[in-house]
Amino acid sequence: MSDPSVTVVPAFWALGAAGLLGLLASVAAIVDGLLSARAAGAAAGTGWSRPAGEVARLMWQRRRATVAADTLLWRTGGAGLLVMALMIVTVVPLGAWTLFDLDVGVVWFNAMDVLAWAFVWLTGWGANSAHALVGGYRFLAYGLAYELPLMFALVAPAVAASSLNVGTIAAAQQGLWFVTWMPLAFLVFCMGVLAIAMWGPFSAAVAPDVAGGVSAELSGVDRLLFLGGRYALLAAGAAFAVPMFLGGGAGPLLPAWLWVLVKTLALLAALVWLRRRLPVVRPDLFMEIGWVVLLPAVLLQDLLVAGIALARS
């Protein structure tokens, strides 16, 4: 059931949403640039311009070609991450406005995040390079471990709000944010976002020990799209967490749309910051952690949420 408090805006606002996502991804890149500059002991000023410099460099760089590459699949995979992020934000309400008031918005997010399995592996496959393919399979190993906990983490807010519609879920937590009584589901969701974006602890698929893994042979515009797609996925994941766990537009003084942006930016900055705070987990070891620890834990969380929802209704 869709929620009457949400207004569907005309389709041309999709351009605005895309621009906003681009802005958030740029902010994420700048935050990462600042943190890298600080970690390297360079002046903070060099961090600001780092993303812009990288964009300019990649736009200018000549495309590298590999022998017998499957160009169609390679390019599809590389550009796909950005498409995924754009599709995710279509169902995220910005305060009272949404582009796509889908009654099964939560399942939509899930279907879009599963596309990462296809796109990352295809990027690894297409280059016809051993290191890239190893990276692709590392991602699939992560995927087998993180996807089910992530799915069951998405179940918790949907059960609590008795709806799969993102706007209704946001409206259901006007009194109490879901993150307060389903913290484990929130943490597992954030883990899933990090994993989809191959970020921080889940960066083994693009790690230096396999010469950049999936991105080993990417260059020029292809690399720019892939990198931009990773930042955009972080931003889209943070934006989706706001109506799911962080109360949507709820907050004092500021208008609802501004609260959504503020919360998204705060979570996004935290996710970017985590990159330098957590070690990379090995895909083979994480497989068992995902199935033996995270999946039962998140199922218990769902049971608890279902019990509370039943008692309240």
Binding site: D70, L72, V107, L115, W121, L144, V281, I289
Partner: protein, 187 residues
């Protein structure tokens, strides 16, 4: 009008992508041609306003193709999967069977008297579907779920070369298990 055009475009894409599965010469292309075909079908289900079924079709099929890539390495070995190869085997019999099935199904759609609609669709089809699955059909669904899980586990056990005697020793007492790929929680 728009939904008519979308329906036919998606139908053509789904059929062509389905045909491409047998024409291309790489397992990756075949897998993802199948995924594109299923995405077309999933979007058509969305046009039928079965939103949950449509989105879940896309979700499951894309994931399934990625899992296929995992199995490709697990059980086929790297080399054959990575080389260009024909996607058809035993062409004559396969062609006969597929033409037969097509004729049967096509004849069915033409000959069967289609029922006229009784009643009206419910306001929230997702909710009705959930109530149907979790209510009167609960026992069937629960049994099917267990059978499917058991099939998957049995399939992997039969295909894997390692047995519990390899893991735990002849007396099954060795701890931790001797695994080629150690797990993350130290069992």
């Amino acid at each position: 009008m728009v939904s008519h055009v979308a329906f036919w475009v998606l139908a053509v894409v789904a059929v062509l992508a389905g045909a491409a599965v047998f024409i291309v010469n790489s397992m990756a292309r075949a897998s993802y041609a199948l995924a594109v075909s299923f995405i077309g079908v999933g979007l058509q289900v969305l046009l039928l306003q079965q939103n949950y079924v449509g989105v879940v079709t896309i979700l499951m099929m894309v994931m399934e193709m990625a899992v296929m890539a995992v199995y490709m390495i697990m059980f086929m070995g790297m080399n054959p999967a990575l080389m260009p190869m024909s996607m058809v085997h035993d062409k004559r019999h396969a062609l006969a069977v597929s033409i037969g099935v097509f004729v049967l199904l096509a004849a069915g759609t033409l000959i069967v008297p289609w029922p006229t609609r009784r009643g009206t669709p419910p306001a929230d089809v997702t909710m009705t579907l959930g109530e149907e699955l979790m209510g009167p059909k609960m026992l069937v669904m629960a049994a099917v779920g267990v059978v499917m899980a058991a099939t998957i586990v049995a399939g992997v056990v039969l295909a894997a070369h390692q047995t519990r005697y390899d893991r735990f020793g002849d007396d099954l007492r060795r701890r931790p298990a001797d695994d080629p790929q150690p797990g993350g929680v130290g069992r």
